[in-house]
Amino acid sequence: MNDLIWLVRREFWENKAIWVMPACIGALLVVGSLFGKVEIAMLHASDQQSELAGVLFMVTIGGVFWVAMSIYSVWYMLDCLYADRKDRSVLFFKSMPVTDSATVVSKLFVGVVAIPLVYFCVADIAALLMAFVISVRAHLVFGNVLWSPGLWLQVQALWLYVLATGVLWYAPVVGWLLLVSAWAKRAVILQALLPPLAVMLAERLFLGTHVTAIVLRDRLLGGGYASFHHPIHWSLEKGEMTPGVWQLPDPVGFFSSADVWIGVLIGAACIAGAVQLRKRRTGT
C-alpha cells in the first residue's frame, strides 16, 4: 500500500498534464463565461425550462471535461508502460524493491481513477465559478437554477455514476491499452490501432462478415447505452424532463449485464498480460 502511494505520486510528478490540462480547460471556460454572450432567452423561462437549462449547463461542462479526460487518459495509458522503457529509466525503477504488479496497478489506478477524479473536481470548480459569473452577469435571474443545491447534487451523483460505470464498461479497452503499452517497442498508437483494424479487414475479406466491427463499435460507443435507461426522453418543447435526473441511470441493468462482466474479464486478462510483459521487458 505504501509502495502504491509513492508510485502514484511518482506518476503525478512525471505527468503534470494530469492536473495542468483540466486546469487550463477550466480557466478557458471561466474566461469564456466572463466575456461570452449570455443566453438571455432562458430568463423568462418557466421553472421547468430553467431547470432543464441548469441540467444542460452542467452536463455540457461535464461533457467537455469528459471528452478531454477520455483523450488524455487513453494517451496516458498507452504511454505509461512504454515511456520508461524508451528512456531506459525502467532500469532505475526496477532496481527498487517494488513488484511489477504494483507498478502496473499504480498506472491502472492513475488512468481509471486518479485522472477521472481530477477532471471531475476541476469540472466542479469550473462549473461553480461559471455559474457564479453567469448569475452575476444575468442579474441573478438565471442564478436560481445554476445554484440549485438539489440539482447540483443530482448532477454530481450522475457524473460519479458515469465515471464508475465507464471504468467497468471500458475495462477491455483499458486492458488493451496497457497491454500494448507494455508490449510495444515503438509507435504505440499504431500498434494499438492496427491489430483491431487488421482483424476487421481480415474478417471482411475472408468471411465477408462484420462481427468484429460491430463488437468494437458497440463497446466504444455503447457505454451510455448500457448504463442508462433508454431511450432518454428529454422533451425540450414541453420544457420538462421525463423522467427526472434520478430516473436516468440504470444500475440494475448495467450490473446484471453479461456484456459488462465479459468486458471486465477481458480487461483483467489483458492487465495480467501487461504485468507479465512488464516483468520481461526492460528495453525497447
Binding site: D3, I5, L7, D87, S89, L91, K94, S95
Partner: protein
C-alpha cells in the same frame, strides 16, 4: 574462517534471443565480500548475465542470488541488491529531491541522510531536475542514491560509459572510499578494464556466452606467468607450452598457465600478467583454438 555460502551461484546458465545464444551454460560463483569484474568483449554475454542475476530477464539453468531465484523474486531481491545498469538512466523529469523522497518511500534499507550527505559533497542542488544535469552529475546522483542503500550486493553494468576521466575517477573513488567494506559484494562490468583492475579481487572472463576464466586476482600471479623472452631463447621457451605469445618492444612475451616458475626464469624476466593483458591473452588463445 567459516566458509560462507556464495552470494551468486550460476549453474548451466543459458539465455537465448531467438537463435542467438547469449549465454551458453555458464557456471560461476561469487563469494561475499569480493569485488568481481565480469570482463568480456562486446556481445560476450556480460549484460545478459547481469540481467539474469538482477531478475530482469528469464533464463534457463540454475541461478541463485542471495539464496533467491531472481526472476521470480526480483522485488524481494532488490531489498538487498542494488544496481546501476548503464549510464544516465534516471528519468529526466525527476528532481533530485523527488528521487530521494521516492527511494526513501519504497526502499526499506535506504538511508536518506546518507544520500543527502553524499550529494552535499557535490554541487548538485536538490531542486535540480535530472534532465538539466550533465551526464557525470546524473551518474553521481544515481551513485549517491545507490550508496545510501544498505545492500549486500551491488551490481554495476558499464556505470561510467561515456563519462570523462574526472567523472570516472570520482565515481570509483566514491565507491571505494565511501561504500566498500567487508559486508558488501560488488559485481562490475566495464570496457575500461585498466580503470577497475586495481579494485578487483576476482575476475570472471566471459566470451561468446562461456566463462573463460574464473580466478581471484591474487591467484593470477601464481597460476599465470608472463615471460619476456629475447629472440634467441623463444624457441626453447616455446617447449614449455605457452598458451599465447605476443611481440612487444623487440621481445616476445610468452604467457604460461601453471608452469614451473623456476624453469621460466631461465628464459627471461617473469612477472604476473595484468588483468587486461591476461584478458587479451586468454581470449585470443580461446579464439585461436
Amino acid at each position: 574462517m567459516i566458509p560462507s555460502s556464495p552470494l551468486i551461484e550460476a549453474r548451466g546458465l543459458s539465455k537465448k534471443y531467438g537463435s542467438f545464444l547469449a549465454l551458453d551454460r555458464a557456471d560461476f560463483v561469487v563469494q561475499p565480500g569480493r569485488i568481481v569484474g565480469l570482463i568480456g568483449p562486446n556481445g560476450a554475454g556480460k549484460t545478459t548475465a547481469l540481467r539474469a542475476v538482477l531478475g530482469l530477464t528469464t533464463y534457463d539453468g540454475q541461478l541463485r542470488v542471495l539464496g533467491r531465484e531472481p526472476f521470480a523474486e526480483r522485488a524481494v531481491l532488490m531489498q538487498e541488491t542494488s544496481f546501476i545498469a548503464d549510464v544516465a538512466v534516471l528519468p529526466s523529469w525527476l528532481r533530485v529531491q523527488q528521487a530521494i523522497d521516492f527511494v526513501a518511500g519504497v526502499h526499506p534499507r535506504f538511508r536518506r541522510e546518507r544520500a543527502v550527505a553524499l550529494l552535499a559533497k557535490t554541487d548538485i542542488g536538490m531542486r535540480r531536475r535530472i534532465g538539466e544535469l550533465s551526464k557525470g552529475m546524473k551518474t553521481m546522483v544515481h551513485l549517491a542514491l545507490t550508496m545510501a542503500i544498505d545492500a549486500r550486493l551491488l551490481v554495476l553494468d558499464e556505470p561510467t560509459l561515456g563519462l570523462d576521466i574526472l567523472a570516472r575517477r570520482g565515481f570509483y573513488d566514491a565507491l571505494v572510499n565511501d561504500y566498500m567494506d567487508e559486508t558488501r559484494t560488488i559485481v562490475i562490468t566495464t570496457h575500461q578494464v585498466e580503470e577497475v583492475e586495481n579494485l578487483l579481487t576476482d575476475v570472471l572472463f566471459i566470451d561468446k556466452g562461456h566463462i573463460v576464466l574464473d580466478c581471484s586476482v591474487e591467484d593470477i600471479g601464481t597460476r599465470y606467468a608472463a615471460v619476456e623472452v629475447a629472440d634467441d631463447r623463444v624457441a626453447a621457451a616455446r617447449q614449455e607450452r605457452p598458451f599465447y605469445e605476443r611481440r612487444a618492444l623487440g621481445k616476445t612475451i610468452l604467457y604460461f598457465e601453471g608452469a614451473d616458475r623456476e624453469k621460466l626464469e631461465d628464459f627471461g624476466e617473469v612477472g604476473a600478467p595484468s588483468v587486461s593483458d591476461l584478458f587479451v591473452a586468454k581470449l585470443s588463445a580461446e579464439r585461436a583454438a
